[in-house]
């Protein structure tokens, strides 16, 4: 199966972070605890389909779809 990115998760589905495409956005996401190897779960999708809410570790993070697309999953 081809590598997926975070924006392709389905509601309630889990994934594990493999890496990032964009080094600058990666810095921000790393700071917020999105490290490679971290399990991440899609909790909610905003009514217009974007942004999305993700469970990362012990908190909920909200990302836009194009930001989530930067995150590769294992």
């Amino acid at each position: 199966m081809a590598a997926r990115n975070l924006s392709q998760l389905k509601l309630g589905e889990k994934g594990v972070i493999a890496g990032f495409h964009d080094p600058n956005l990666a810095l921000k996401l790393l700071e917020m605890g999105c490290l490679p190897g971290t399990e991440i779960r899609l909790m909610a999708i905003a009514p217009l389909g974007d942004p999305i809410c993700l469970q990362v570790g012990d908190y909920t993070l909200s990302l836009r779809l194009d930001e989530a697309a930067v995150v590769e999953l294992q």
């Binding site: 917020m32 974007d50 909920t60 909200s62 930001e67």
Partner: protein
């Protein structure tokens, strides 16, 4: 300047720094349950014991020492610059215990800078609800700093925290050992920066190397020099920061795993997650958002009406009593027609302001504000704004000045500028009095479909009009600016909390106090000036007007004659001449010279409008002791013989005030935030132009 030791509060956004600040200093800075409430540093004093006082510096929240927005920049400005006047002696790192690992990242950066650091674990109750138990002693031992459990909201653990601060302030207290070994760069590189810039700390040297552009205390020579050193050692700052962050997490993750015990491994669905399923649902999400808005506007009108009526008639009787008790004369007239009439126009609106702020405070305290940002982000982006623009826009319903400052959390300059430019289009609380009066004059107080108060509905539509025009203006500016700048949204969603009654009461009290004192000052000043201008005219024109009326109307009764004289004198006074002077410009909008006077006085601040109306109609004769609304209702248009405030005039005024930029404080705030007079000038011009054209169209269409 005092020489108290400085204690800085540092931490991730929304972890309770300002709550702790308020608990320590007894001050009442604004708190809320969403990231980015504090956008600037705040200073207060607390007493550690009988002899020691310390300054507490509250800082905006940030996830690391690498700032992405202006509010985060403040933290770097202070912590990376030993010459800063706020450079702390001790840093209290406030951490959300339910999310310890991520909070420790910033902690380790701060302690690696060589600060005496205390880790204050807040929100332990939330952590326990998530089934997390923290071994405080082990954590303290592993990190090498004191760890104190606190509850900033209920003010528990403050004694222990103060004790720890005293310990760190003692001469022989030890500095924490660096958490991270800087082994991704060469020792010579660090050494060169340290000796070149006389920096003592290794990590500070690395911060300087990586943040050349962001460190505002560096001179341009410093920057060139640093750039040269970086190039010679082929230093890549993004690469360094990435490795730094990953390595820090590795070390801190191990420490956190050791000191946190999970009660059960089964992740339970928390209350917040259940609530989010509804509040972010494709249909229920928007339905609940509109239901909440609707509830707010309905209650502003229907519930606030009772106390408003009491105050209104109370002020009217006070005026009546003063007039009957005090001897007739200039001072009495100044007091009753000038001051009491002007102030009455303000205090009447206290109940509505209180209701409005109660709701805003509930939205902010519960954590719902962050959900609104998520709900609106996509829509906002289409018009050139950002989900984060929602906070300035919503808080602008209260007042645009703090709202414009709140835009500092927006990372992209373009998004932030557009937010600042359109924020004043949202109807602020100063417009509420004008809306209320005008709606009360022309919209019948009726209930439709059983539950909808028609006046409340009209009010909601006016607010929506402001909101929609803010979006449209943003869209136009986006087209004009054409800046391609990447904007981020990445945001932490706060856990829902039950709003605390005392916080809500305090927020409402502060808002009402500010409304009465700030607006009151302006209104009292303008009322007095206006009274003078409206009571005196050039030369002996006032006496002439009196003689004229007596000569022309020999048959009138004493009372009617008095009224006729008063209104003729008002017309010939300085204020009246002023009104007449601008009348040609506002006649197409349906306004006469009396409304013109009120328009002019309200250019400094819109809340003056109703007070001015009240003063003008008090001086202009008629029944002195009536309420403002009734005075306006009975005002006659001499040209038509019908009421002055016809629906066309009232709607024209309503529309004018939705758009008009009549607030000096807001223009000053825009100047402060954009550091240029160009933007406030554009803001004033475009808003006033829309106001004039829209009011003109409204009046002409309804004639």
């Amino acid at each position: 300047m005092n020489k108290n030791p400085k204690i800085a509060l540092v931490g991730n956004p929304n972890c309770g720094k300002t709550s702790l600040f308020n608990a320590l200093t007894g001050l009442r800075q604004k708190t809320g349950n969403f990231p980015g409430v504090t956008v600037d540093r705040k200073i207060g004093v607390t007493r550690l014991d009988k002899t020691t006082e310390v300054d507490i510096v509250d800082l905006p929240g940030t996830y690391s020492l690498y700032p992405k927005s202006l509010d985060e920049q403040v933290v770097l400005d202070i912590l990376a610059n030993p010459a800063s006047k706020d450079y702390p002696d001790v840093v209290i790192m406030v951490a959300d215990a339910s999310n310890l690992k991520r909070n420790l990242l910033l902690f380790s950066q701060v302690s690696d800078l060589g600060f005496h650091t205390i880790l204050a674990l807040n929100m332990v109750d939330v952590a326990e609800a998530h089934g997390l138990i923290i071994d405080v002693d082990l954590l303290s031992q592993r990190l090498g700093v004191p760890v104190v459990l606190i509850n900033a909201k209920s003010e528990e653990g403050l004694g222990n925290l103060k004790f720890a601060i005293k310990g760190e302030l003692m001469e022989h207290s030890e500095l924490p050992k660096p958490v991270l070994r800087l082994d991704t760069v060469s020792k010579e590189f660090i050494q060169e920066i340290k000796s070149q810039f006389k920096v003592a700390n290794d990590y500070l040297a690395m911060l300087m190397a990586g943040q050349i552009e962001k460190l505002r205390f560096l001179t341009s020579e410093n920057r060139t020099l640093l750039g040269d050193i970086n190039r010679r050692h082929s230093f890549q700052h993004v690469d360094f920061q990435t490795k730094e962050t990953v390595n820090r997490y590795k070390i801190l993750g191990a420490i956190a795993d050791e000191s946190i015990r999970k009660k059960d491994d089964q992740p339970r669905e928390t209350f917040t997650q259940k609530l989010d399923k509804v509040l972010l649902h494709p249909i229920w999400g928007y339905a609940s958002f509109f239901a909440i808005l609707f509830l707010i506007f309905q209650s502003i009108f229907s519930l606030a009406e009772y106390p408003m009526d009491w105050i209104d008639s109370g002020m009217a009787s006070l005026n009546e009593w003063l007039k009957s008790t005090l001897p007739e004369g200039l001072l009495t007239s100044l007091l009753t027609d000038g001051l009491v009439a002007g102030i009455g126009g303000v205090v009447v609106f206290i109940p509505q302001i209180a209701f409005l702020f109660t709701f805003i405070s509930l939205l902010e305290e519960s954590g719902y504000m962050a959900r609104v940002m998520v709900l609106m982000d996509k829509l906002m982006r289409k018009v050139g704004l950002n989900g984060r623009s929602v906070v300035p826009l919503i808080s602008s319903v209260a007042c645009a000045v703090p709202a414009i400052m709140g835009s500092r959390t927006i990372q992209s300059w373009k998004d932030r500028l557009i937010t600042i430019m359109v924020t004043p289009l949202m109807s602020c609380s100063a417009r509420l009095p004008i809306f209320t009066i005008m709606i009360g004059l022309v919209i019948p107080e009726k209930t439709i479909l059983g539950i909808f108060n028609l006046q409340g509905l009209a009010l909601m539509l006016l607010y929506l009009l402001g909101f929609v025009s803010a979006l449209l203006s943003a869209w136009v500016m986006k087209k004009v600016l054409k800046v391609k700048e990447r904007s981020f949204f990445v945001m932490e969603m706060p856990v829902f909390q039950l709003p605390r009654l005392d916080h809500v009461v305090m927020a409402v009290w502060n808002a009402v106090k500010a409304f009465v004192t700030e607006a009151g000052k302006v209104i009292i000043a303008i009322s007095i000036i206006l009274w003078v201008l409206a009571s005196y005219g050039p030369g002996d024109s006032m006496e002439q007007a009196e003689q004229q009326v007596i000569k022309e109307n020999p048959t009138l009764s004493q009372e009617e004659l008095g009224n006729a004289i008063a209104s003729a004198q008002l017309e010939t006074s300085y204020a009246g001449r002023f009104g007449h002077f601008i009348e040609p410009a506002i006649r197409p909008l349906g306004y006469d010279w009396k409304i013109g006077i009120a328009l002019l006085t309200s250019f400094a601040a819109r809340e003056v409008f109703v007070g001015t109306m009240s003063t003008i109609y008090s001086l202009g004769g008629d029944d002195d002791t009536d309420t403002v609304k009734n005075k306006m209702r009975t005002e006659i248009n001499p040209e038509t013989g019908g009421p002055r405030f016809t629906p066309a005039v009232a709607f024209s005024l309503l529309i004018f005030y939705v758009f008009a930029m009549m607030c000096m404080s807001t223009l000053a705030a825009t100047y402060r935030e954009t550091k240029s007079w160009f933007y406030p000038a554009v803001q004033f011009t475009y808003m006033t132009a829309i106001a004039y054209v829209a009011a003109w169209i409204t009046y002409q269409a309804m004639l």
